[in-house]
Amino acid sequence: MIVAASKKPLRFGVVAGLGLTILFVSSLFVGVSDLPFRTAFSDPDALQLLLVSRLPRTLAAVLAGAGLAIAGLIMQTLARNRFVEPATAGTAQSAELGILAVTLLWPAATLAMKTLAASGAALLGTSIFFMTAHRLPPSQPFLVPLFGLVYGGVIGAGVTFIAWQADLLQYLAIWTNGDFSGVLRGRYELLWVGALMVALAWFVADRLTIMALGRDASIGLGLDYAGMMRIGLIIVSVIAALNVVVVGMIPFVGLVVPNIVSRIMGDNLRGTIKWVALSGAGLVLGCDIIGRLIRYPYEIPVGTVMGVVGGALFLWLLFRRPAHG
């Protein structure tokens, strides 16, 4: 609503916007095949490479990062707990279970069908998480993320067991470990549905901010609490499922990005939600570029890089002194 004029958020916005632009351009020109900047648009081969591989890959990273950051933000809002995200609360694992089931029972299903099944399973798994998490005592805020981690772990163990029996461990590795190296034109476009979800989240930003005040305050302000809960769950589940199916799950994005943005700009989502999306995109794209460069010409999957970068950021968030001011 009315964001008090302060230079800090503005500076953050400029840095995030500029950073994403620089990352976007560098991502187009970093890779195994040489793509000199000067000839990129004159040489037809180079242009082909740009359009078929580099641009789709960059867009996929941007879409995945923005989506995951928003999904994390919404989960934190709905759980009223800053330390949950789809990858650590059973959402991603449930999505894996869904897609595994479809792959086993109906191998001919299209990617869209698989995504739908994964979304449904993710919705179910996340709803169960929330039903249980709301019973945990609010006096111990760390129990909720802990419960989520183990809950996800148990579903993950079940998924691994089934995949093992069915000899599908190779697939499982693809779904559980985010990697953009296989992204080509024609194989990532489903992620645009995630962009739609981000837009939906933007549209209901005010309502989400109120949700964060709790059930009683929301109802007191005339909000359809149960309805918003459903919308939030659907956004989270669809984004998580899309990521699992198309590029594989990337951990920590949904956790660290909303926390850092909240620390700098506060929680009035009307003002901050675009920066959450932008920073998520930047973080994932940055990690993907690191993964491409660190062992050049080989590639390290973005999921692995994010496990290190995101894990370190998360521990920093956990042990920093509480923010004031």
């Binding site: 005592p137 760390f142 993320p145 148990v154 590795a173 692995t304 998360f314 956990l318």
Partner: protein
């Protein structure tokens, strides 16, 4: 009463050991028996190490739902292992005797564990925060481990995959001799420290009042835990919730936290579950490789129950 129950546990472990050795025995009996005996030694060592290290770790942290692996110690071991390869790979490290390498890895784990956990214990973190930090440490070190693995060998898909779950079927028998020495030494120290552990479980203030030099004792106990974790992780790989399951069961069975009773009870429960479970899976269910996953599954559920029920009280 506790003595009777320990006797029952002992009988059960003997039973599972005998079953493990004899069921389905055919062909060259001497050869098969020897093979099985080696595997039995490894499995029971793993069961005992995990059980005992979990009991000690829970006592030191004053927290009944943590285990060394939930706090990321096994991930730390794998990371240390990979870091050694990464740092010394050029110096012919890979060609060294495996027992010697193992010794180096144990030392690295001890140092890393003390460096990470002592500050955490000293700052008396809230239980939930400590657990959460531990779990994230685990993810971080697992990621670092696979990052290093890929840096060393970019096509190392198998390494990463193999490190994610314990496989009780592919035991590293080449490390067995050294591991056995380490385990037995650690068990002797743990047994002699059983009364000290009882005092430590009262918390740092009371224990200090009763004449324990807190920081030195805790450091010593962490070193002990590290060596046991190193043994079990080196032999079969990481297990997340097995220790929790074993100790929770053992404590329920003997109904005491006194270490003179709990330590042997937990060790025996570990043997029963691991050796008995392996026998069952090998002969009854026909797929021995998935025991690790099944244990994770039930251990995880046990953890969730402890968390939800424990927080209700």
């Amino acid at each position: 009463m506790a003595k009777n129950r320990i006797a029952i546990l002992a009988a059960l472990s003997v039973l599972s050991v005998v079953a493990f050795l004899t069921i389905g025995l055919r062909g060259n009996i001497a050869f098969v028996l020897e093979l099985r005996a080696i595997k039995l030694l490894a499995l029971s060592q793993v069961g005992v190490s995990i059980a005992v290290s979990t009991v000690i770790f829970q006592t030191v942290t004053g927290n009944r739902i943590v285990t060394p692996s939930i706090m990321g110690l096994d991930a730390l071991y794998l990371f240390g292992q990979m870091a050694l390869v990464f740092a010394l790979g050029g110096l012919g490290y890979a060609a060294l005797n495996p027992q010697l390498k193992f010794a180096g890895e144990v030392l690295v784990l001890m140092a890393l564990a003390c460096a990470l956990l002592l500050p955490m214990l000293r700052s008396r973190l809230d239980m939930g925060l400590m657990l959460l930090a531990g779990v994230v440490f685990g993810v971080l070190f697992r990621s670092l481990h696979s990052l290093l693995a890929r840096l060393i060998d970019p096509n190392a898909f198998a390494v990463v995959q193999g490190a994610s779950f314990a496989n009780f079927n592919a035991v590293r028998t080449d490390l067995l001799a050294f591991a056995s020495v380490l385990t037995i030494a650690a068990l002797i120290v743990a047994w002699r420290a059983r009364h000290v552990l009882d005092v430590v479980s009262l918390g740092s203030d009371t224990a200090t009042g009763l004449g324990i030099t807190w920081s030195r004792t805790v450091t010593g106990l962490l070193v002990l835990v590290s060596s046991l974790v190193a043994v079990s992780t080196a032999l079969v790989g990481p297990v997340a919730f097995f220790g929790l399951l074993v100790v929770a069961l053992a404590e329920r069975i003997v109904n005491t936290r006194r270490h003179a009773v709990l330590l042997p009870a937990a060790a025996l429960t570990g043997i029963v579950i691991l050796v008995g479970g392996q026998t069952l899976f090998q002969h009854g269910l026909g797929s021995s490789s998935t025991l690790g996953v099944v244990i994770e599954f039930f251990g995880g559920i046990a953890f969730l129950l402890l968390l939800v029920l424990g927080s209700r009280k």
